[in-house]
Symmetry: C2
Subunit: 700 residues, 2 copies
Amino acid sequence: MTDLLTSALQPRSVAIIGASDNIHRIGGRPIYYMQRHGFKGAIYPVNPSREEIQGCKSYASLSALPEVPDLALVVVGGDKAVAAVEECADLGVKSAVVIASGFGETGPEGVELQRHMVARARAKGMRLYGPNTQGLANFGTGAIAGFSTMFIEVPPMDGPIGIVSQSGGMSAMTYGLLRGRGLGVRHVHATGNEADVSVGELALAVAHDPDVRLLLLYLESIANPAMLAAAAAHARERDLPIIAIKAGRSAQGQKAASSHTGSLANEDRTVDAFFRQHGIWRVRDPHEQARAAQAYLKGWRPEGRRLVVISNSGASCVMGADAAEDEGLPLAELSAQTQAAVASKLPGFATASNPIDVTAALLSDSGLFGKVLPEVAQDPAADLFFINIPVAGAGYDVQTFARDAAAFEAATGKPVAVAAWQESVAEPFSAQGIATFPNEGEALGVLAQVTNHTALMRKQRTAWPALPQVQLPEGVRGFLNEADSLALLARHGIPTVPLRLCHSAQEARDAFDAVGAPAVVKACSAEVPHKSEHGLVALGVATREQAADLYERFDAKMQAMGVARDGVIVAATRKGRHEFMVGARVDPVFGPVVVVGDGGKNVEALKDCAVLLPPFSTADVVQALGTLRIAPLLAGVRGDPPLDVQALAEIAVAVGRVIAGARGAMASVDLNPVMVGAAGEGAVVVDALVECAGVPSSGS
Amino acid sequence: MTDLLTSALQPRSVAIIGASDNIHRIGGRPIYYMQRHGFKGAIYPVNPSREEIQGCKSYASLSALPEVPDLALVVVGGDKAVAAVEECADLGVKSAVVIASGFGETGPEGVELQRHMVARARAKGMRLYGPNTQGLANFGTGAIAGFSTMFIEVPPMDGPIGIVSQSGGMSAMTYGLLRGRGLGVRHVHATGNEADVSVGELALAVAHDPDVRLLLLYLESIANPAMLAAAAAHARERDLPIIAIKAGRSAQGQKAASSHTGSLANEDRTVDAFFRQHGIWRVRDPHEQARAAQAYLKGWRPEGRRLVVISNSGASCVMGADAAEDEGLPLAELSAQTQAAVASKLPGFATASNPIDVTAALLSDSGLFGKVLPEVAQDPAADLFFINIPVAGAGYDVQTFARDAAAFEAATGKPVAVAAWQESVAEPFSAQGIATFPNEGEALGVLAQVTNHTALMRKQRTAWPALPQVQLPEGVRGFLNEADSLALLARHGIPTVPLRLCHSAQEARDAFDAVGAPAVVKACSAEVPHKSEHGLVALGVATREQAADLYERFDAKMQAMGVARDGVIVAATRKGRHEFMVGARVDPVFGPVVVVGDGGKNVEALKDCAVLLPPFSTADVVQALGTLRIAPLLAGVRGDPPLDVQALAEIAVAVGRVIAGARGAMASVDLNPVMVGAAGEGAVVVDALVECAGVPSSGS
């Protein structure tokens, strides 16, 4: 549980330990900023060598202050920082922001020092920010416990945006980009080494600020996904969009991140799945965060994705249509009526279908946009509007275009984006409050982002009923054999191939009679997870005597290999129309993770799979299957019937519930192949491998 | 053969038919521009209602001019335009630029009018530009036969860039973007409807201007690839990079393009292959053309792609590493020596490995970049340099950073790109001539583009020896049967499965004995190209009597279907480690096109294939195979040996030579599956279908 970090974000009093009269020093900046940006609480400079600092009385020590401050900003470095934190904790300060670097990011000794500070703080109920942070800034309260140069470079203005970032540099850059676009920013917080308070916890606190309408995050590692999930849940509840950067997307980036902060790498596809699960939109960099901000703040929450493109250039119509397809935005099919109405407003050589080319006739008739737009607005097929003006200038009445576009947006309530690279063209649109971009790629990228993000935020969350009790053999660490693995899955309702585990040639004969020809015979040993590589699998076994012979051969082979002889499996042959895989593992950070994908021998080489985080529904699985490269096969090719994706999805959900139900006792499970038949024929698991974590389930 | 369009690009005299005294009218602009931008030749306004126009004597008619002008600009519209073109041609004018619209873009009648004008011009040796064009502009000679408003919006400056565009709007926009970046532009030409002169031919002419060092094209359709190829060949010869937009990349875009200009759609993957083949770099829009221009003009021609990232922000190091991986740029592995040398210049908590984080210590030591760069320059592992400055401002000596970076670039001759979004940070770098971008995505995108484009331009071109004579049955239009198709391929040295075409059960028995068990039996009829869908294929035929039975059954079935009974094939069974496909067809614009890809039943659904244009080498095929989604399988998975890609590549080259050798008589050929074995085991075509175009070969 969190107290929403009030003592840091809305402190009544702030002490600066290591205060300076020089506003260009780290100890001078926060005082300067707080005085300038309306902080109403008490400011207590602590510096034994001065009487007064920036007009405030300076104190020799923390204990000399007239009250215990809510927040202490620790600007001194090294051992002094540690001592200051200890003193703060002992005195009952509620929050301490530690600017000093040289802690966790430098190696094990620094990590130990951090731990010590946090332990001391916790013991006294104090929260710690940093160390190695640029600090916190709340322009709503004027509480600026940070020193970023950027607040001098680009003057602050309070507004509806919150920024929470591990990196001080990125918080400053994002702030600067937003302010450069004229947008107001309230929260600019950096968490640095996150010895105590993380981006997730600060995000949760900021999400509770009712004036915040857009939340931007920068993360280099996710150590506490639950806190971030809580922030996202609260944000969704109040329709607050979160746009996050998670750097270290690539192998190179993860290596750089680990050398930057020493943080654990997160598996990137799991990060993607986590963000999707929680309605957080992921972008690559602060530019992508900033470019979309205005659209969100305008309250765009599109219901559909059918786009109308309007331009005064045929070429821009074509490139707009291309860019729309890149972004997955289909061009709206305007009704014949709409097209006729549009055509009646345009010169004969213009194009009245979508994209609508008003042509250079715009030069002689400035009202063309204004005439065309209301006609298009009538058409229910149109969800999103994009006006592309690649060329204008002397003779073009851009003011009129902009007024007409603004009136149209106000009347329809539907998103209108404009692309114009000429400042003289963009400016009148911006002045009318229209979302204006330098090119069609950005404009359509933002339209698509807001549309997709809205759908993601509004998506019904899946709830799972009580998890099954999943019992794993006690004391086993490592793989169960195939028979035990399949039996465990079968016990939890997952369809598996009929089989018998045989311990003699006669049992193999009997099993053959039971499962029917052609049968599959496989050696069964927990110590040989990859049987086929050892020639321990026989397909198409046609007679009971062949089955008996194979029993003898496989048993002898296992004996020769010196591995546990758990028996020989005689199984029915099951073929589907396509082989899939379903896997699950427990991620050290995110917990149970399920993977579905193309199956068979080439799974690891082709990696055509999708990641799902519990809880998820069969509909989620079907959607995930639709992102696979083999997705076109799902509907059936060349006259084949569609595949039974529902049956496959049910297996994936069941596997997710099993690994979650094992509560840490199951390290992983791998079902490959899962034979999937035509719709209605079902799916069946033909081979499986369960890995035990070697620890008991963490309780039910 | 072309005369390099001298009479249009360097005319000695220009007549303006429909001249105006008003410089804001289309008939007034060109005169204004020519007078202003140093045109040294004669300007002849033609307008019967005036004595003088913009200080020039005005003439009542073309025939009244004191000389026949090199170039006539036809500003009048409709029938008057046609009459003016006729008069120009009859008088011996060398080039006419027709501004008027209302021709080919409006429908069949307009197309007919265009044809008429071109025919009249050709008969008299006159070249025609447009109609429906914004015209031509050469700021080297001052010959501005165009009216773009943009030359008023953004003042021209002669320089080393040429723009040739179908669209006038795009030529103007690209010009404006380049001038906005301070770059000089010489040629700004629009071809409009291309009734006569195309982008390709103008590009060839502009490529012969020795002062042009970068050529930018905008195309909506490619009708004459040979001319474009000739332009590209000349450009490559003189190391002149070409960056092209081909709009209508997507289904939506092609539809819009066809309604814009009525032009034929080009298959987009073939366009990609064509550009690759000719060393032309393809981008999406004018912004991408403009953003890379400076880097090309600086003469960047990188020899390698190993990148060094340097920043004053750890987060930017991480995002830089991510963006580098997005662009396929590996981070250079700096030697231990380099790292030690770099570390000695940096504070203890900075990172000396690549990416190099100089940290905010840059604030206190402005010389840090200057100290670090020479140490890195020593390291032969570094090809490309990227400096990322997400935050700077008061207290940072950016002038010094910029000077140090410029000195470094001059000393090493290696590309240095800077990302800085703050104008105050970017400006000093730009002033030093450093390529500076607003973000790491653009900076690394351009570094990667120039590196990849340089490699593409320098790639050895493949030459094919004389093509084979490929004989197709006379008078056949449509498919050959499988036996004939395979026989044709075999005659040209392509390995095919051993088979016999049988016409009786006894022949089937004999054939079985010859090919061996297990055999494959297939019905053979040119009228049943998809045999398996009719149950006319049997695999794993084990005995000669089975073969004989199948003969009877398949023959009866063909008879029942009422199709040509060409016989029944008894073939050997050939299995490889993977099934591929090789196909070829004659594209109506680009000629023979070869496709290689993943084979089997799902070819059309999964479309995992790559396009090659003849002539190409086996190395080209191997490279193309490396772009497939199944590429990871080529090296062999889970201990398997690598596949015999060389054998597959040889088949692809042979197929390309066969379809090219057929000189139009072969419409398409489809080899699927091609069974490819392990390296050294070869590849063999198991099924094939040749389609005859029904026309004789176009001669040898």
